[in-house]
């Protein structure tokens, strides 16, 4: 097999590494992607993962739960190894200061040097990008927006988590751990690949237009020239006091070609609403209503399988809010089961990236 996934729930980093090495011993990894519970010390996990696979490009991030083939996990490390047939070329670059506006340009310059082609000229059918970013930075929109300005290559990824402590999230590369940073990876896979963006919501007819926003703070001050919280509550026919209780079930979505790009409310602040991702003035958002995550994911995976013929590996960036809903419905085992029989790696994220920065969505990279 060219792509192999593994996980370990051992207590110490040393035992985890030993366990993963044992599971990958029959292959020569060219790239190792891993997602580690925040129980493991960031510096140690990154240094030791790199030492364990010295000839491979090794990178990852901290999580709010891990995903492996057939399983949703806690307190583990989930990893995927790719040999040279699966990934013919890979280059990573770390943006060490997310608020540095030239970060993406510098990363792309290193990619251009390695691949010998301007990022704007790379064929998006042959190359793809991965992005792992500090999940507490609040800087994801600017990052993915800038990436999208400078290339047509699709970058997909997730925001690192810390098991809902909301204290510190890390990205890992080059044997080091980083905060307020992002790891970008440019890959040339050896076979076809595809992307899944799946969210479990139906689009309701009621729309709200953002008429006043504090975009830098992900804050909507007014919808339809009314205080945001009051307008949201009115749209649902409920009181402002009850509004926060509906955020997960009824987020908002920017609907593009019939597909919602979910914007999840985080909390009410005065009469405003704070969101988990950027909301711009002038955006027309639709009210959404939750549907069934298991059924929608099953359908999305079936469509990807039909498109590619076979699937040899899946990288799943699954929103923590979806994981919490699955836990509440005691459906984590069933969700994990959707990925059984196929090498899978992933984690519960603090945000997902695919063209833009998203919430309550699973973005997946699927290899033929």
């Amino acid at each position: 097999m060219n792509i192999v996934s593994a996980y370990s729930t051992k207590e110490s980093v040393d035992l985890v590494i030993q366990d993963l090495r044992e599971q990958f011993k029959h292959m020569a990894p060219k790239m190792v992607l891993y997602f580690a519970s925040s129980r493991h010390a960031p510096e140690a996990v990154s240094r030791k993962m790199q030492q364990a696979f010295p000839t491979a490009t090794v990178f990852g991030c901290s999580t709010a739960g891990e995903i492996a083939s057939g399983k949703m996990l806690k307190n583990s490390v989930s990893a995927m190894a790719f040999n040279a047939q699966a990934i013919s070329e890979v280059e990573i670059s770390v943006i060490e200061e997310l608020h540095d506006e030239s970060g993406v340009e510098l990363a792309f310059a290193s990619f251009e040097k390695r691949f010998g082609t301007p990022m704007l000229d790379l064929n998006p059918k042959k190359y793809l990008g991965l992005v792992l970013v500090d999940g507490l930075s609040g800087a994801e929109e600017k990052l993915i927006d800038r990436i999208g300005d400078l290339t047509d290559v699709t970058f997909i990824g997730g925001s690192a988590g810390d098991d809902l402590k909301f204290a510190a999230t890390y990205v890992y590369a080059n044997g080091k751990s980083y905060r307020n940073a992002a790891v970008l990876a440019l890959l040339k896979p050896g076979s076809e690949f595809s992307f899944i963006k799946t969210q479990s919501f139906s689009i309701l007819p009621r729309k709200l237009v953002v008429t006043r926003a504090n975009e830098a703070n992900r804050e909507v001050v007014e919808f339809d020239h009314k205080p945001a919280a009051a307008a949201y509550a009115e749209a649902l026919g409920i009181s402002v006091q009850d509004a926060a209780g509906r955020f997960t079930h009824n987020p908002l979505g920017l609907v593009i070609d019939g597909e919602p790009f979910v914007r999840s409310p985080q909390r009410i602040k005065g009469s405003s609403m704070l969101f988990y991702c950027g909301v711009m003035e002038g955006m027309e958002l639709s009210l959404l209503e939750a549907t069934n995550i298991i059924e929608d994911t099953r359908k999305a995976l079936a469509e990807a399988r039909a498109k590619l013929g076979t699937v040899s590996g899946i990288v799943n960036f699954n929103c923590i809010l979806r994981t919490l809903e699955l836990e509440q419905n005691e459906a984590t085992e069933e969700y994990g089961g959707l990925f059984s029989g196929c090498p899978t790696v992933g984690f519960s994220t603090y945000g997902e990236q695919f063209i833009g920065h998203l919430n309550q969505t699973a973005t997946m990279l699927v290899f033929k």
Partner: protein
């Protein structure tokens, strides 16, 4: 003045996506996520300086 925004959006999509229909859709999605909905601008739309400024920056990157 009117219509400049529609003209700039068309230029961005043409420059970046050329004849590639899939890429045209991606560029439209990127614009919408930036808060610029291409469907809302016609040859008669007002020339909003804030929107024009965003589009000018994009045109520069796309060259």
């Amino acid at each position: 003045m009117a219509g400049k925004i529609k003209h700039m959006i068309d230029a961005i999509i043409e420059q970046r996506a050329k004849e590639n229909v899939l890429l045209q859709g991606v560029i439209r999605t990127k614009l919408m996520l930036k808060g610029i909905d291409p469907r809302k601008f016609t040859p008669l739309s007002d020339d909003d300086p804030a929107v024009i400024s965003k589009l000018e920056a994009l045109l520069k990157d796309f060259k």
